[in-house]
């Protein structure tokens, strides 16, 4: 177990293992999300209240879900950075934070698009949308702090502290925003998955969510490989990889 943990900390070892997993992640992710999306968009029944416009949940829900979990993952990686000083954990944070921003933006955008037919306005200060907006701020803080320090270790540890503080705050933020929302708009329609959602709706949704997670894994590994190459560019193994038959491997690594 400890040996495995130790190995995981080695960027070189991780580079290799990531390369082996990536095709599977990509394949399975594409398969699941395509199935889910086709099913959801073409075959799932209409919503009795919202008609077809509800179908945007097949994009909105997975991105929103993932955006939140990615922040949690960053915080977990932050703990690993602080406690075990593992380089790969920081590589993960660096590579994944911009992905989190994109996911949050997508969730906000799809939420706004969904809002137009539902509320008649692109932006409504709904509890979920507001929480996503705050999540976007948290992400931007992490990225801003990460780029502010030129020294990689300092950046990594500072970002780790910030991410952990952010994660402690997320439940409080969520609770307070929900409370604020009921205070101001007691009777608006909320974007929620109704518990009574029929299986024809939630099964494809589940497929898309699973698929997006796998695709995220692929993107994360891809970006991590690139980051590892950048950081380890002066080491022997990277030089050898570049010079010898590693060229093709390098391309999949996305240099």
């Amino acid at each position: 177990m400890w040996q495995f943990f130790h190995k995981l900390g080695s960027p070189k070892w991780f580079y290799g293992i990531a390369g082996r997993f990536m095709p599977w992640l990509l394949g399975a992710g594409l398969l699941l999300s395509l199935c889910g999306i086709v099913w959801g968009l073409l075959f799932a029944p209409q919503d009795y209240l919202q008609g077809n416009s509800y179908r945007i949940i097949f994009i909105h829900v997975p991105t929103a879900f993932l955006a939140q979990s990615v922040y949690m993952m960053i915080a977990v990686a932050g703990v690993i950075t602080l406690v075990w000083k593992m380089k790969v954990a920081d590589v993960f944070v660096r590579s994944v934070a911009p992905v989190g921003v994109v996911l949050t933006l997508l969730a906000l955008f799809t939420g706004a698009v969904w809002g137009k037919p539902t509320w008649g306005a692109y932006w409504v200060w709904d509890a979920r949308l507001t929480s996503m907006l705050i999540l976007l701020f948290l992400y931007l803080g992490i990225i801003g702090l990460g780029y502010a320090y030129s020294d990689e270790k300092t950046a990594a540890r500072s970002v780790a502290v910030l991410a952990i503080v952010g994660v402690v705050n997320i439940p409080i933020i969520k609770y307070s925003v929900d409370w604020w929302n009921t205070l101001h708009q007691p009777a608006t329609f909320r974007i929620t998955e109704k518990p009574t959602m029929p299986a024809e709706m939630w099964v494809p949704l589940l497929l898309v969510v699973l698929g997006t997670y796998l695709l995220f894994g692929w993107i994360a590994f891809y970006r991590m490989q690139t980051e590892i190459l950048r950081r380890e560019r002066r080491t022997r193994w990277v030089r050898e990889l570049v010079q010898t038959g590693g060229q093709s491997q390098l391309k999949t690594g996305g240099a």
């Binding site: 030129s150 020294d151 990689e152 270790k153 002066r234």
Partner: protein, 232 residues
């Protein structure tokens, strides 16, 4: 908690220290011991990591790998004792311009040692700041401010002193006085580790050499220990 030291016990022992900064290795495989009753000068060209090494020894910088022992036990298991028994004076010694020398000393010392106002006052007189005791430090010269910081050495009870460029801005007489103070301290069994720009007129110095000349990063020297500690 801490036991009395045995003769010839090391106070602090560093093994295979390695430090990397901004992707450049400052030193590697650096091992040495600091023994009571010795004065050690860290030497090396600019940018060779002298200040960094001192900050590592003080416990301020933790971007390093290797082992540091304090009185025979790993240092990280006894931080309270290590902090209490190490006095670090950096080249920015924590002197506030709007406070008087007396207030500055009181604030700096409060958490470490119970020292009466009389003792502080005497120390300030001794470093030649008697008439300035109650003048805000912003009205003092750079050398005088440095003296405020160094006045701490007159009553400090820490066995290990880490002095980073302690002589900066001092005039010749003051430099000589500090050197005498350090020599006395070492004779009394204290340990001093310092960096200086000038060659101090002290005999019996240990040396820790960092870097191997300008333009040649220490990282390139692989197997041989970069540092050597010679005695005398």
């Amino acid at each position: 908690m801490t036991e009395p030291l045995q003769q010839a016990d090391h106070l602090l022992k560093a093994q295979r220290l390695e430090c990397e900064r901004d992707g450049r290795t400052l030193f590697r495989d650096l091992s040495f011991s600091i023994v009571p009753g010795t004065l050690t000068r860290v030497e090396g060209p600019n940018g060779s990591g002298k200040t960094t090494l001192l900050r590592i020894l003080a416990g301020l910088n933790d971007n390093w790998s290797g082992h540091i022992h304090w009185c025979g036990r790993p240092r990280h298991k006894q931080w309270d004792s290590v902090r209490r028994n190490t006095l670090y004076l950096g080249h920015r010694p924590g002197i506030k311009g709007v406070l008087t020398p007396m207030e500055n000393l009181q604030a700096l010392v409060a958490g470490r040692q119970a020292v009466s106002r009389d003792v502080l006052s005497r120390a300030l007189v001794q470093v030649g700041l008697g008439p300035w005791q109650n003048v805000p430090c912003e009205h003092l010269s750079a050398g005088q401010k440095r003296r405020v910081a160094l006045a701490r050495l007159l009553f400090a009870d820490e066995p290990l002193w880490l002095l980073d460029e302690a002589f900066t801005a001092l005039d010749v007489e003051a430099v000589a006085a500090v050197e005498r103070l350090l020599a006395d301290r070492v004779r009394d069994g204290g340990a001093v580790v310092m960096t200086t720009h000038h060659q101090p007129a002290l005999d019996d110095m240990q040396r820790i050499l960092l870097g191997h000349g300008p333009g040649q990063p220490a990282a390139e020297v692989s197997d041989e220990p970069v540092a050597e500690v010679s005695h005398g």
